[in-house]
């Protein structure tokens, strides 16, 4: 380092060992600084998680105290009457995410099998990148596309089911398109962890590609697959912009699949800036519920994927 130059000008009489001692001391200090500094930044991750929970809890406290259990059972969200029920939003969130997963899982598995087993090696990378690029498109674009293309298309296909084109099912379809790349990427990655020897020996005894996939590849990555699917579910639960445009924003609970509804994220996004007082607090309480749901779902997915990774070579 620049140590020699500086010590020459400041104190030429210092002996070699003293200079070395100083350099050692300084490096020792830097060592500790570096270790503790980066350690503090790492602990910041824990602080972030704690901070998110705590700040949401504190700011939603007024609404939770005022409404208590009624908050979860009331079947409408009517700010003008000071009635805040989370039921329509929770129902919409869960049902749209379920629709998305039901549509996305078969398609994602198909793409993943195509990419790992069928695709010519030349095309594998470009196709993989294309799927990943689909994951990079911002969700607001999906929402706009849903309004402009998908909703009119559904309305045209079946005006009786989709009188306006928007609704829970439309939102579910948009969400499915959004999470297909996520599930595909995860499933493809875990499928690639299956040792080639296993595949080759199955082919060697005369299995067809499908038999190899069904009896050798899929059984050995079961946990990873489930983890990938739940990861996609976690994405769908918290998605805001794509859903807001097409879900219809009906604030009354109705147990339909295709009718209009709302979701937690959509409700927060559409009402937050026009809200004050207890309504804002109630919206923050919705945020807390969403965070707890997604946290539980994502934690499950990560634990499953972790068990999978332990088996990787």
């Amino acid at each position: 380092m620049s140590d020699s130059g500086r010590s020459e000008t400041s104190s030429p009489l210092l002996s070699m060992s003293q200079q070395e001692g100083r350099a050692l001391a300084r490096h020792g200090l830097m060592d500790r600084l570096f270790k503790n500094g980066t350690g503090a930044l790492a602990i910041l991750v824990l602080v972030l998680l704690g901070g998110i929970m705590l700040s949401l809890l504190i700011s939603s406290w007024p609404a939770l105290v005022t409404y208590g259990g009624q908050f979860f059972t009331e079947n409408r969200w009517a700010p003008n009457q000071q009635v805040f029920g989370a039921l329509p939003a929770i129902y919409g969130t869960l049902i749209t995410s379920l629709i998305a997963v039901v549509i996305a899982v078969p398609v994602s598995f198909g793409i993943a099998i195509f990419l790992t087993e069928l695709c010519p090696a030349v095309l594998r990378r470009p196709l993989g990148v294309t799927v990943e690029l689909l994951a990079g498109i911002p969700s607001i674009i999906y929402g706009m596309w849903g309004v402009l293309v998908l909703a009119p298309l559904l309305q045209w296909l079946s005006p009786t089911i989709f009188p306006t084109g928007t609704g829970l099912l439309t939102a579910g379809i948009i969400l499915a398109v959004m999470i297909i790349p996520f599930i595909t990427a995860t499933v493809r990655d875990v499928m690639n962890t299956v040792p080639a020897v296993l595949r080759e020996s199955a082919y060697g005894v005369g299995c067809t590609t499908w038999e190899v996939v069904r009896s050798v590849v899929l059984p050995s990555i079961r946990v990873g697959m489930v983890g990938g699917v739940i990861l996609g579910l976690g994405r769908a639960l918290g998605e805001t912009m794509a859903v807001t445009f097409v879900i219809g924003n009906n604030l009354f609970f109705s147990a339909t699949l295709t009718g209009q509804g709302t979701s937690i994220a959509a409700l927060i996004a559409t009402q937050f800036n026009e809200s004050t007082g207890v309504q804002r607090s109630a919206l923050l309480a919705l945020g807390l519920i969403l965070f707890l749901i997604t946290f539980a779902v994502l934690a499950c997915a990560r634990l499953m994927l972790k068990r999978m990774q332990r088996r990787m070579p």
């Binding site: 490096h27 830097m30 600084l33 570096f34 270790k35 500094g37 980066t38 350690g39 930044l41 790492a42 602990i43 910041l44 991750v45 972030l48 901070g51 998110i52 700040s55 949401l56 398609v107 994602s108 198909g110 195509f114 069928l118 695709c119 196709l127 990148v129 294309t130 690029l133 689909l134 990079g136 498109i137 911002p138 969700s139 607001i140 674009i141 929402g143 706009m144 596309w145 293309v149 297909i180 067809t208 590609t209 499908w210 918290g238 805001t240 912009m241 994220a265 927060i268 996004a269 937050f272 800036n273 923050l284 945020g287 969403l290 965070f291 997604t294 946290f295 994502l298 990560r302 972790k306």
Partner: protein, 284 residues
């Protein structure tokens, strides 16, 4: 013989059917990307003129200049803050906390935060920054975006540092280099390309984030040059407002599509650059 022949044919047919379905699924996936890009191009290209970049947003006509500038500032700010924290924390996880219990706890929490809904992160910064300050601000927007960047960069940094072989660290230590010097000079230079890929991907992700900005930076139709203390105009929020509360004005909807095209192309280019960088590392 007849029996085994029919079984053989059945297996072959089943295989063929499933493989055709899988290929169809792959085509389906690519179809969506093309359909969305085609819609964007078709709707967006006509809306973009020179004035789109030079004029600010107005109720009548106008452009997207202030929104684009604001978006660049928010994204850069979020990326810089997120990178500093993320690289540091990732370094600790890979170099010091590899086998520690605390390390695995942080790793787990980070993985969960990695896919936490961005709307929640917006609410968190709202409660943390906007409420005490009393007004929306560019800083709040930057912080919200930084919180989204952090887990991505941590993950990239840790994974890339773990790919640096231990023998390199040992060699450097054997030459008398101190631990921090080994990390900074040896490990970072080995992991540089991978970490930059992670940062670029994070940058691409936050440049399209809308939900967290609703509660933090909000939007404005004025030019805002580096005044982070007040509301910062940005592209995603402008698109959102033009598609919702201003959607009765045809020109605003047109501009929203123009903005969406600019945004998506930027993100795709960032993604492609990031992937080219990671491919170069893989080759090495």
């Amino acid at each position: 013989m007849q029996h085994s022949n029919s079984l053989y044919r059945k297996r072959k047919l089943l295989n063929r059917t499933v493989m055709v379905l899988c290929s169809a699924a792959a085509l389906f996936g690519i179809f969506w990307l093309l359909a969305i890009l085609a819609t964007l191009l078709w709707q967006g290209v006509t809306a973009i003129e020179w004035s789109t970049f030079t004029e600010r947003t107005r109720m009548s006509g106008g452009g997207l200049g202030n929104a684009i500038l604001g978006s660049i500032m928010l994204t850069l700010g979020g990326t810089i803050i997120g990178t500093i924290i993320g690289v540091g924390a990732g370094t600790w996880l890979a170099e010091y906390g590899r086998n520690a219990v605390l390390g695995s706890v942080i790793r787990f929490i980070n993985d969960v935060l990695l896919s936490a809904p961005s709307v929640i992160i917006g609410l968190f910064i709202y409660a943390l920054v906007v409420l005490p300050m009393g007004h929306f601000s560019g800083w709040a927007g930057i912080l919200a975006l930084a919180v989204i960047v952090i887990p991505v960069v941590i993950r990239a940094t840790e994974d890339m540092l773990k790919l640096v072989p231990d023998s390199l660290r040992e060699a450097a230590s054997a030459m008398g280099a101190h631990r921090w010097w080994v990390v900074v000079r040896v490990c970072y230079s080995g992991a540089r390309a991978g970490i930059i890929t992670g940062i670029l991907l994070a940058c691409a992700r936050i440049s399209g984030e809308t939900a967290p900005l609703i509660f933090t930076s909000l939007n404005s139709n004025q030019w805002n040059f580096f005044d982070l203390g007040s509301e910062m105009p940005n592209l995603p929020m402008t698109i959102y407002q033009n598609m919702t509360i201003n959607s009765f004005i045809p020109r605003q909807v047109e501009l929203a599509w123009g903005g969406a095209l600019i945004l998506t192309l930027t993100i795709l280019v960032l993604n492609i650059i990031a992937r080219f960088m990671s491919r170069d590392t893989n080759k090495r």
